[in-house]
Structure formats: C-alpha cells, structure tokens
C-alpha cells in the first residue's frame, strides 16, 4: 500500500509541475506577442507621419515649430524603439502622441487643410492608428498583469524560477495630462475641452 501511495503522490506532483510550467510559458509567450502587437502599431504610426508632414507642409505659413516638434519626436521614438525597454519606449511614444495632438489642434485653424480629401484620409488613418496603439497597450497590460499575478501566486510561484518567469513591465502613462486623455480622438470634430 505504502509504495503505491507514494508513487501516486509523485505522479500527481510531477503532472502538476508540468501543467504549471506549461501554463507559465504560454502566458509568457502571450505577453511577448501582445507587446509585438503594440510594436506593429507604433511602426505604422512612424510610417504615416512623414506622409502627413509632407501633405500639410504645402499649405504655406503653417506653424514650423509644431511640425518640427512632431518630426523630432518621431525620430526620437524610432531610435528608442529598437531594443529599448518598456519604460523608454512608453516615454518616447507618449511625447510623440502629445506632439501629434498639438499638430492636429493647430490644423483645425486651416479650413483648406480640413476640407482636403487627402488630409482627411490621412487623419482618419492616423487617428485609427492612435486608437490601435491605445487598445494594444490596454490588451498588453491586461495580459502582462495576468502573467505577473500567476507567477507571484502560490503555488505557481514555486515553478516560476524553473520557467524563468520574470515580472513583465506594464506600459504605464506617467504624465498626468496624458492620463486625462486615454484615447486621443484626432478625427475632424470640434475639439472637446
């Protein structure tokens, strides 16, 4: 009786370890994948900005400073994008979001720009990309939180070391002004507040 019971306990334990390990690995890969989804959207935004800048530059006497701010924020975001941690990427991209927001506010003052089909299409593209970034970030944070919780909870935390699980950094919005506008709506509506 004794040896059989012992064997049963060992088998159950091993099965549990395998299950917990695999669960953690699956969550880890989901987190990595969710982060890649943000990357895809960020890349898309970086690609769209030169188009926009070129299109609006044509309208004369357009505020040079605002445009320059967007261009430099973009290049900084692209530099920090390669191999940087969550925190640096988040900071650079947040700055870019802010610069773009200002540009769109300024554009409101130019009726010929607003009525141009090309600009409207670009604006729709960009505002959609902004939203996708926000939603991808939201999704990443949810997944990463789930992963973090799992590896800290008992008894899964016993396996966390074997699975090389590390706490995933969340994409947090640090600056207070950003927090107030979670999704930036850049479409051609009356600016709200």
């Amino acid at each position: 009786m004794g040896p059989i019971l012992f064997l049963v306990v060992v088998v159950v334990l091993v099965l549990w370890v395998v299950g917990a390990y695999n669960g953690l690995i699956a969550l880890k890969n989901q987190t990595v994948n969710a982060w890649k989804q943000i990357d895809v959207q960020l890349k898309r935004r970086h690609d769209l900005i030169p188009n926009l800048v070129n299109t609006v530059k044509g309208s004369m006497n357009f505020e040079k400073d605002t445009l320059d701010a967007v261009v430099s924020a973009r290049s900084r975001a692209m530099q920090s994008g390669a191999g940087a941690g969550v925190k640096e990427t988040a900071a650079a991209e947040t700055a870019l979001t802010g610069a773009l927001g200002k540009l769109f506010v300024v554009m409101e003052r130019y009726p010929d720009l607003k009525s141009s089909q090309n600009v409207r299409d670009l604006q729709e593209e960009l505002s959609s990309t902004e939203n996708k970034i926000a939603f991808a970030r939201q999704f990443y944070n949810d997944i990463a939180t789930g992963y973090n919780t799992k590896q800290q909870q008992f008894p899964t935390n016993l396996v966390a070391g074997i699975a090389k699980a590390e706490i995933a950094e969340l994409w947090e919005i640090e600056d207070k002004a950003e927090r107030a506008v979670p999704t930036v709506d850049l479409s051609l509506q009356k600016p709200q507040g």
Partner: protein, 345 residues
C-alpha cells in the same frame, strides 16, 4: 482581473448553454420521431393483441436523419445564409471615408480583444443597425447598415462595433448561430409533420383506433395519450423554441453592452449611439426575422421590445432600450467617479 474572470465565466456559460441546447434538440427530435412510432406501435398492439407487425421505428429513423442533416447544413452555412438574406456586401476596398472608418474601427476592436480581425460587411439600408455572425472568432463577420455609418460619429461607431466584438469574443455568435439553425429545423419539421398529419389524417386516426373494434382497452388508451402528447408537442415546439431562443438573445445583449463598454472604456458613447439608433424607428427592411435576434437593436421595430414585463420577457428579442441606456449611463458615471472627475462630459 475581475474582467478576465467574467469573460471566462461567460464563455463557460455559453459552452454549457450550447451543450444544453444540443441535448434538448436531440431529445426533442427523438420524441418527435420515436414518440410517433410508439403511438403507432401501441395502436397496432392494441389491434392485434400482441402480434405486432411493426418492428422498425421508421418514423424515428427518418425524422432524426432529416434533423441531423438540416441542422448540420444550417450550422455550416448559417452565417453565409444570414449575410445573403440581408443583402450584405463585404467591404474589401473601402470606397468612402465612412467605410474606411468602419474598417478601421473593426481593426481597432480586433486589437483591443487580441482576436483575428473579423470580415466587415455593409448593408445598403437607411435604418441604423448592426449585427455580428459566425461560428467562432476566426470566421466572424461584423455587419453594419449604411444608415448606421451615416448617423453615428466615430466614437459611437466604435462603441457599436465594440458591442458586436463582445458578441464575438464571448462566443455569443456561435451560440446564436447554433440556436438559429436548430430553431429553423424545428419550425420546418414541425410544419412538415403537421401537413403530413393533416393530409393523411384519416389514415393516421384509422391506424390508431378506427379499425380497432376488437382492440383491448388499456393499450388503446396509452396509444391515444401518446398520440395527443405528440401532436401537442408538434404544435407548440416552434413557439417554445422561439421563446427560448429569444430569452437567450436578450440576455446576451446586456452582456455585450457591458463587454463593449469594457473594451472601449467609454460606456457613454454606446449610450448615445443607442439613443440615436432608437430615434430612427423605421424598421430595417433588409433584415428579416431570421436574423433579428442577432442585431444590436430590433430591426423589426416591434413595440414589445420597448416594454418590460411578463409578455415582453417572453416575446422580445432585445431588452428595452431605455434599460440598456440607463445601465450604460450608470457605468459611465461610475467611471467618472473612479477617475475623480466631476460628471460634466
């Protein structure tokens, strides 16, 4: 994490409901087929005093086979049939800014849920409405009318698409497709059997008792009881199955509203979208009764959907609009309170 838990529970519940519906459906057809056989068998037994020439339950075998085949076909082809019957066209290359916006918003919601992007369809109909269909997230389709695109702003459109995406994520689309398929089969078969019964009515009754002058009592009574029960089921089945389908559909609407609000974190936009949809009361002519339970608002504009109460609870496919809007506004208020902002927006 409560949101994740809710989703998990929701999907588990939908799976249970799917299994329960399948079981009920199988039982129903077993009764419809083999119950009929039983009645005939008992009648024959009563007439021949034990020596029954009736051995193979043909009725049961035939009915079950037909039911299985039709259910399978409509399960496989259901989503396409719905799309076809509403005249929806797929938006592959967006023609206008509005269509582009719809495609973009669907992509945004796919990102928010982490699901593959559903196919986008448009119906040329001035009445605002939308629905989702499909068997699972990869085969899902989201459909909007041109009227919806015309009256909603971007945020509101996003909210409506988020509601539909909620149906997709919660596996509502699978359950609703299955139920639509099964209810369809029940209605068709019960109509067919009813006609058969009326056509061969004399013969059927004759089989049951007409020639049974020397029939023995208890067996004949049993045959009659089974037969009457069988006819009652046949008559009531379409109504009961529809009422059950509607109960399931109504339940899903509140949940999809909540999921949509959770995805966009913007319940106020869905509330204002629903208000706009409600003020355009014209029925959506392109959406027939078969797809009504899928839509965000009742396309048939039936009064029964505006009320709460026992009758409305039985017959409506959608919860009352006013209730849905109130709930969403409550969520929006909670959100503002949590953010520590005065509710001015």
């Amino acid at each position: 994490m409560t949101a994740g838990l809710n989703l998990f529970e929701q999907q588990a519940r939908n799976r249970r409901l799917t299994v329960a519906w399948m079981a009920l459906f199988i039982l129903f057809f077993a009764w419809l087929g083999f119950g009929g056989d039983l009645a005939i068998y008992l009648a024959a037994a009563a007439r021949t005093e034990g020596q029954v020439p009736y051995r193979v339950p043909w009725l049961g075998v035939i009915v079950t086979t037909i039911a299985a085949i039709t259910a399978w076909v409509s399960w496989r082809k259901g989503p396409q049939q719905v799309l076809w019957s509403t005249g929806a066209r797929e938006v592959k290359a967006p023609q206008s800014l509005e269509e582009k916006q719809l495609v973009n918003v669907v992509e945004e919601m796919a990102v928010a849920t982490g699901l593959p992007k559903p196919k986008v369809y448009v119906i040329d109909d001035p009445d605002p409405n939308a629905f989702a269909t499909g068997r699972d997230p990869p085969s899902a389709c989201i459909v909007a009318t041109t009227g919806l695109l015309a009256i909603l702003n971007r945020e509101e459109l996003q909210a409506v698409v988020a509601h539909e995406m909620g149906h997709v994520r919660n596996f509502d689309v699978r359950l609703m497709t299955l139920i639509a398929a099964l209810v369809g089969v029940i209605v068709v078969l019960s109509n067919g059997m009813g006609r058969l019964l009326r056509g061969g009515g004399g013969r059927g009754l004759g089989l049951l008792g007409g020639k049974g002058r020397k029939a023995s009592g208890p067996l004949l009574i049993a045959a009659l009881v089974v037969f009457v029960l069988w006819v009652i089921t046949l008559i009531l089945a379409p109504f009961i199955s529809r009422i059950m389908a509607m109960a399931v559909a109504r339940d899903r609407e509140y949940l999809a509203d909540a999921t949509g609000a959770e995805l966009t974190r913007n319940p106020a936009a869905l509330a204002s979208a629903l208000e706009k949809i409600e003020t355009h009361e014209a029925p959506t002519t392109h959406i027939k009764e078969g797809a009504a339970h899928l839509c965000i608002a009742d396309p048939l504009g039936r009064d029964v959907n505006l009320k709460e109460g026992r009758l409305a609870d039985l017959l409506a496919t959608h919860p009352p609009m006013a209730m849905r809007i109130t709930r969403l506004k409550g969520m929006a208020f909670q959100q503002l309170k949590a953010a520590g902002q005065a509710p001015t927006a």
